[in-house]
């Protein structure tokens, strides 16, 4: 918050200077209503997912595990390798597209309902409310000097916050290091040094962001606040106060007719300001601090109901609608974003579904162009790398094709690779020089599973021989 004051005595006249005033703690008033219910549901579902997921198992292994040292990500039944980095890119593209789509549709839906900062702050505020009481009680407590009661309340609140934060940190690390062993170790204070560090670090971040910084994260850290205006147009649903209906504002008796008194529907109760977690007055218009939580909508609707007026003085509406122009939600921009988003998601899903969990890499031995064997055949040596990305071990068959008369020699004809293992082996290909048309020929290596599984990979390689003497 800033105050302005005039500085005194400079030769060139008065200068207005903004002085920095320390931030005043914001006490969002408790609110009930449709959107509050939706937010609470969001908190339950998202936090529930976050805390429960690492405890679920799939085939003896944690269902969701990001094994960084082994460079494998286990998500449900699938294993993702560094080679699958492409899917991460696709997912990022899908995330960006959904950002544009949802923002163009209804502004900061993410911020108000799904963002981890909002979700955890809601949980922390709920704990605070349970311990310290409602808004006026909290404000009164903070103004008091330190007493035994105040100390007891504050200490319990921070204690519960800290335990909750540590548990959050533990869960976070549990996505990277199997959570069952981790929890047992943690309770015995026997976690490894770096795991301990990250649990504490992430716990501290949770405590700091949700308990202390709160709306300041949204105001100062979040880039969404800054560029939301670029993604919103006059047909975007934004949370807005209807000044045409509400102004001029003023208190009046419930039984009175406001129009007779020359008043709008707004009774200036300021409850919309009291419930706001970022402390703004929505009647001043959409501001960048507004996270779109719709608490003001619920609050105002409640007051309107009590006054016997129609709801919706503050509501999700479009700028066009407020200015009395026709408005359309389903417009080209929305349709295009939706279509591309759907295409990317469908493409990613299909791509993952039809993924062949097998990698074949063929690299020609570069130490020599070719070698002539005792029988006069031309030989090339290749280094073959086979990666079995499937859940179980497989036996494979390797063959060459595309080059007439080529024969493949392996040290060991039996190719067996365990799940998640890499097999590297040299192979030789021999051809009668009579059959070689050019110096350089193309051939294909075919790797297929011969244990009944439908797995196959084909890789192209070059075969180098002597210049034809014909």
């Amino acid at each position: 918050m800033a105050m302005t004051s005039k500085s005194d005595s400079t030769a060139s006249g008065d200068i207005e200077q903004s002085l920095y005033a320390k931030r005043k703690k914001i006490y969002p008033r408790e609110v009930h209503g449709l959107f509050a219910w939706m937010r609470a549901s969001g908190v339950f579902i998202l936090l529930g997912l976050y805390y429960i997921l690492p405890w679920l198992q799939w085939d003896e292994r944690q269902m969701v595990l990001f094994d960084l040292p082994a460079r494998k990500f286990y998500i449900f039944g699938m294993v993702f390798w560094p080679q699958d980095f492409f899917y991460l890119m696709l997912l990022l593209v899908a995330a960006a597209l959904s950002l544009f789509f949802f923002t163009a549709l209804a502004g900061r839906l993410w911020c108000g309902y799904a963002c981890p900062q909002t979700v955890w702050t809601e949980a922390f505020l709920w704990i605070e409310r349970k311990i310290e009481g409602n808004r006026p009680q909290q404000m009164k407590l903070d103004k008091q000097s330190l007493s035994w009661r105040k100390f007891r309340l504050k200490a319990s609140k921070h204690f519960i916050w800290i335990v909750f934060s540590l548990y959050t940190g533990l869960t976070f690390v549990g996505y990277f290091s199997p959570i069952r062993e981790l929890s047992v170790n943690f309770l015995q204070l026997q976690t490894g040094p770096w795991e301990t560090f990250w649990i504490l670090f992430y716990g501290l971040a949770t405590y700091g962001n949700a308990g202390w910084l709160r709306e300041q994260v949204c105001t100062y850290m979040c880039p969404y606040a800054r560029f939301q205006s670029a993604m919103i147009d006059k047909d975007t649903l934004i949370i807005s106060y209807d000044p045409a209906r509400g102004e001029p504002r003023g208190s009046r008796k419930k039984s009175a007719d406001p129009r007779q008194q020359g008043l709008g529907d707004c009774i200036d109760c300021t409850i919309c300001v009291q419930v706001c977690p970022t402390g703004i007055d929505i009647r001043d218009g959409l501001q960048y601090q507004c996270i779109g939580c719709a608490a003001c909508i619920d609050a105002c609707d409640g007051v309107m109901e009590q006054m016997g007026y129609a709801k919706g003085l503050i509501s999700y509406t479009t700028e066009n609608n407020l200015e009395g122009r026709p408005t359309r939600l389903l417009r080209p921009r929305i349709v295009i974003y939706a279509t591309i988003l759907f295409a990317v998601l469908a493409g990613t899903a299909y791509s993952i579904y039809s993924r062949v969990p097998l990698v074949l890499d063929v690299v020609r031995d570069r130490s020599s162009l070719f070698r002539e064997t005792d029988e006069g055949l031309i030989e090339n040596v290749y280094q073959v790398k086979i990666v079995n990305m499937d859940q179980r071990a497989h036996r494979y068959n390797l063959s060459v094709e595309g080059l007439e008369g080529a024969s493949l020699l392996l040290d060991d004809a039996r190719i067996e690779v365990d799940s998640g293992e890499v097999l590297e082996m040299p192979v030789r290909v021999r051809v009668d020089p009579e059959l070689l048309q050019n110096r350089s020929a193309t051939l294909h290596f075919r790797l297929s599973a011969n244990d009944g599984a439908d797995l196959q990979r084909i890789e192209e390689a070059r075969f180098i021989g002597p210049a034809p003497t014909r």
């Binding site: 500085s7 200068i15 200077q17 002085l19 920095y20 931030r23 910084l213």
Partner: protein
């Protein structure tokens, strides 16, 4: 700089450098296998990742602080209540 809250200035330095450090750590450890680079040191893999991350964060933060320093107005400016 007086009108910008302290917390905003602190965040402007620590938060972008945090993000960059994350990205840099991913790229660095993808390109260079920690077990090969740091084979002479007795640190676990997770330790290498962590230290790499914090070194990058520190570098980024120092850069950001330098940028903030150079963003200060060049002229001495009128200070409140100063007599010139």
């Amino acid at each position: 700089m007086n009108e910008i809250p302290v917390i905003q200035r602190v965040i402007a330095i620590l938060w972008p450098s945090f993000i960059t450090a994350g990205i840099a750590t991913v790229l660095f450890t993808t390109a260079f296998d920690p077990e090969v680079i740091f084979v002479d040191y007795d640190v676990s893999r997770l330790g290498v990742y962590s230290i790499t991350f914090f070194v990058f964060w520190l570098l980024g933060a120092v850069t950001a602080m330098t940028t903030c320093f150079f963003l200060r107005p060049c002229s001495a400016g009128k200070r409140q209540g100063s007599d010139d």
